[in-house]
Symmetry: C2
Subunit: 288 residues, 2 copies
């Protein structure tokens, strides 16, 4: 979204970034101040993809609509879909987007909810077939795959959520009991997505850890600058006030309905060993 906002700025639109608190929650007061009668669109992710913060979307929509009923409200619900109860009608959003691969569906497919009556123009041109918003022939295999993944995610929604949360909690508790010098990133409890774990492991560079773990079949992401194309640490971790060294050693892990307790036990076996090895090699506390 940040990149899209920057692009819109190049086109001459004015954009405003709303700050977040130390757990990643949007500042609703600042949102209220920012909306005026020239506001066209407000976009807030329903769940932050890095630290799992469940945003107060309903409250945000009410604030925006009270100040400017014409302003459209969009939420990227990719990290909410299949993880928290989410209902476009109850939330009163105008637009919502979800992504297939985030619920273990095929990559390259997503869906957009568009409130009836909203006028919309496609951003890409080409031969228009049965789809109005995207050129080309509709991708039937990916559509069917995404539909099936949605079915699987929602037919046992409650059980899936309980399982993701239980496995995530075991994972986080295990890491904190095995290692010291850690920071837990993002909120705890109900206001965090049940699948999300994000931990800064001080004195262990995230990129090195990512690679070492991948050799053991464990795949994590890192907020380390070294893992990122632009060599900037995670803007999310920076926004919640993490220092460079904390972002540098951060890893992001997500549980799914397909993981087992054995999988978590295996991660808890290899992760501390990898961290201790990397910490031993570096042998320094990092520089802020």
């Amino acid at each position: 979204m940040l990149q899209v906002a920057e692009m819109m700025q190049k086109f001459g639109f004015t954009t405003t970034k709303i700050p977040v608190d130390h757990e990643g929650f949007i500042n609703l007061e600042k949102l209220k101040e920012a909306v005026d009668n020239e506001t066209i669109l407000v976009s807030v992710s329903a769940v932050n993809n890095e630290i799992g913060t469940v945003q107060p979307i309903k409250e945000a929509v009410d604030i925006v609509k009270a100040k400017n009923p014409q302003a459209l409200f969009h939420t990227d619900a990719s990290d909410a879909y299949g993880r928290i109860p989410f209902n476009v009608q109850n939330l009163n959003v105008d637009l919502a987007t979800v992504s297939s691969y985030k619920i273990q569906g095929p990559r390259g497919m997503g869906a957009m909810y568009l409130r009836e009556g909203i006028n919309f123009e496609r951003i890409l041109e080409g031969q228009i077939g049965t789809q109005k918003l995207w050129p080309g022939v509709e991708n039937t295999p990916l559509i069917v795959g995404f539909t099936k993944a949605s079915e699987l995610a929602f037919q046992n929604f409650d059980a899936n959520v309980v399982k993701m949360r239980m496995l995530r909690d075991k994972l986080v508790d295990g890491i904190f009991s095995e290692l010291d010098d850690l920071r837990f990133n993002g909120p705890k409890g109900d206001k965090r997505s049940p699948d999300n774990a994000n931990v800064s492991i001080l004195r262990a560079e995230g990129e090195a850890l990512t690679i070492e773990l991948s050799l053991k079949g464990v795949y994590v992401s890192s907020g380390s600058a070294c893992s990122r194309r632009l060599l900037q640490p995670s803007h999310v971790l920076v926004a919640i006030g993490r220092r460079f060294s904390e972002a540098h050693g951060s890893i992001l892990m997500k549980t799914t309905r397909y993981l087992t307790e054995e999988d978590i036990a295996y991660v808890l076996e290899v992760l501390p060993t990898a961290v201790n090895r990397i910490r031993g090699i570096v042998g320094s506390t990092g520089v802020d």
Copy 2:
């Protein structure tokens, strides 16, 4: 491409459409006249997707570069890839695009050849990962699938081409020996893609034929206005001078390396029956 040209026009660019002859070949004289020192981009499909016309890309590139060496030349080679010999270096094009599903690879994937040193900006914004020209996480399954499809298309290229041509010729000869009041659309011989058959079946509406054949497991496209979202007949057939009634009853069929002689025999069994049934129902010669 037409829609993209129209979009560029909205953005303030001037665009020129180069006419084609009755077989769909681009008019090189008109191309020469159209290129001037303000020309930024010329785009010509290597093979027309509806009537299989193999365009003289090398000649077109030479003409464009002679008049304006700075003008970029793009060719959409989606219908050439895996069907005719095609070499970006020999043709001296600056940009070439191909599509996975056109060689029986997965849908939703393609590739672009970009001559080294050409400055390029992406048209969509979002999080940039390992790809510079398209936001988001690269789609590994589709990339692998497309690569495998390319391998299969090219490891027996000559044999595949011979097979596609032989099956296509059997199909066309069979249709012409079984039915009358037909028009063959596009060129014959080496200047036609080996997989492409396009026949106008007068007094048989293409949309009805498409549906009737699909019930028998035979999938064809039609240039009929009724098959098209905008209720306009195929602009390709119109451009080569076909009348409305001719476009209306046109069907497009393509052979692949996976089809067999039995498949063609089956099509030749069900197609004339379907045509005669539809012609009998309509019982008119159509109106121009």
